[in-house]
Amino acid sequence: MKARKSVSLLLLVMGFTAFLLVNEPQSAYAMHIMEGFLPVGWALFWWALFIPFFVLGLRAIARITRETPELKLMLGLAGAFTFVLSALKIPSVTGSSSHPTGTGLGTVMFGPLPMSVLGSIVLLFQAVLLAHGGITTLGANAFSMAVCGPIVGYAVYKWLMKSTGKQLMAIFFAAALADLTTYVVTSLQLSLAFPAESGGILASFVKFGGIFATTQIPLAVSEGLLTVLIWNWLKSN
């Protein structure tokens, strides 16, 4: 009896979740860990991990803007551009629409370190103006989206450019893998904070990863394709 009730509850929850993830155009924002979700220890831990990267990025920016203060204007505008990029609706290969993260394109354009600063600013504005994500969880979100995503994207781009020289392929994988990295790191953050009863962190990682894979993997492919199209246009103009 109890088992049947549990199963029906389970089905209900799963159906509801699937419905929301597929039909809710804000599903990509849903990858931002929400306010108050992480236990206090983990929230602080990710802040501590994120801040050194932020400081590095800030120092890189300070260096360039000291020589040419006008570049501040450019970077601020680039921040607004990145925000709008993350607010655009793009079609996903599954047919629903979603929001790109824009980290791949931003990394290739502005470099990974400035992107960590711009990305964090964008995340803060998303928290404050859209109520997506949160302040206490900003460290964790920024670490996955503004630090790991750009670094992996950049590394992939450089490596593919060097080994194959095919720029479009490099761009595609840089953008798609930057997206995927964000998704993997977020799943990891969640599984560390909420290990499964049986199977611990690994099982939990599989569960979280499995849920978000439904939106995030198609999104990564779409964003890769989109970034390639953008790059083609930028070059032809």
Binding site: S6, L9, L10, V13, M14, T17, L20, S27, M31, H32, M34, E35, G36, F37, V40, L58, I61, P69, K72, M74, L75, G76, L77, A78, G79, A80, F81, F83, V84, A87, L88, P91, V93, G95, L105, V117, L118, I121, A127, V128, L129, A131, I135, T136, F194, E197, S198, G199, A203, S204, K207, F208, I211, S222, L226, L229, I230, W233, L234, N237
Partner: protein
């Protein structure tokens, strides 16, 4: 959504109240939400709703809409938290259900404290508070410019999207992807154009190396609010100690 929060933050009844006080208050409640029992957390939620809907005059429907849509992440994570796999059987773990319940109370309390801040305090005041907290000037300058042009760029992108639909675009996967790429490219060109214009505009106004922000202006905090904040927090603390040590 984005314009909604922004507009409310400028037009609500608590806007003139000192932003530093509001931020301090919200920070204290965030902290409390993290360390207290669920009963206290639900009290925090109710108390915050009174501030947001009652004192700030935010329409209840917007407040609930924001609370609800923010819970999307929570809902999406539910299966992962309560479903367990063991030896090829799927079951709902009682511990999981309990975790989820506890988590919900903490999260909703934190969320209400955050909504209080973002619905009652405009970004420009948040920037001033951050300056008081010694966030580096460079970060604040970048945020200032980003915020200033965010709405302009959003409108531009929206206008181009409408124009594409008017011309029969944004129809089908390939055309949507291609048309979106065009918007991004156009927007990038405009960003660069703006950059040139803005640098001339600011240089003509005496910009040399930094954007000097307006100085912090301390708004007053009515005594009535001050008392409610103080007494309320003391009551919450007492309640928590009673739950904890059964005084």
């Amino acid at each position: 959504m984005i314009k909604l929060i922004d507009t409310l933050s400028y037009s609500n009844a608590l806007r003139p109240v000192s932003p530093l006080w509001k931020c301090g208050f919200a920070a204290a409640l965030l902290l409390l939400s993290y360390v207290t029992h669920p009963q206290i957390q639900l009290c925090i939620l109710l108390w915050m709703l009174i501030w947001i809907i009652g004192y700030a005059g935010i329409p209840a429907k917007y407040c609930l809409l924001l609370l609800g849509s923010s819970c999307l992440f929570y809902l999406a994570s539910l299966p992962a938290l309560i479903v367990e796999f063991k030896a090829w059987t799927i079951y709902i773990s009682d511990n999981g259900v309990q975790t989820v319940a506890v988590l919900f109370c903490r999260m909703i309390a934190c969320l209400s404290a955050m909504l209080f801040i973002i619905l009652t305090t405009p970004i420009s005041q948040l920037l001033q508070v951050m300056r008081k907290l010694r966030v580096p000037a460079l970060v604040l300058e970048l945020m200032l410019i980003t915020y200033r042009f965010l709405f302009l760029f959003l409108d531009t992108a929206q206008d181009m999207y409408v124009a594409q639909r008017a011309r029969g675009g944004q129809y089908g996967f390939k055309s949507k992807l291609r048309d979106t790429a065009v918007i991004v490219v156009r927007l990038f060109a405009k960003t660069m154009q703006r950059y040139r214009g803005l640098s001339h505009g600011l240089i003509s106004r005496g910009f040399t190396d930094e954007i000097k922000p307006a100085p912090y202006e301390a708004g007053a905090l009515p005594l009535r609010f001050r008392l409610e904040m103080g007494i309320g927090i003391v009551i919450l603390l007492l309640g928590e100690s009673w739950l904890r040590w059964g005084m």
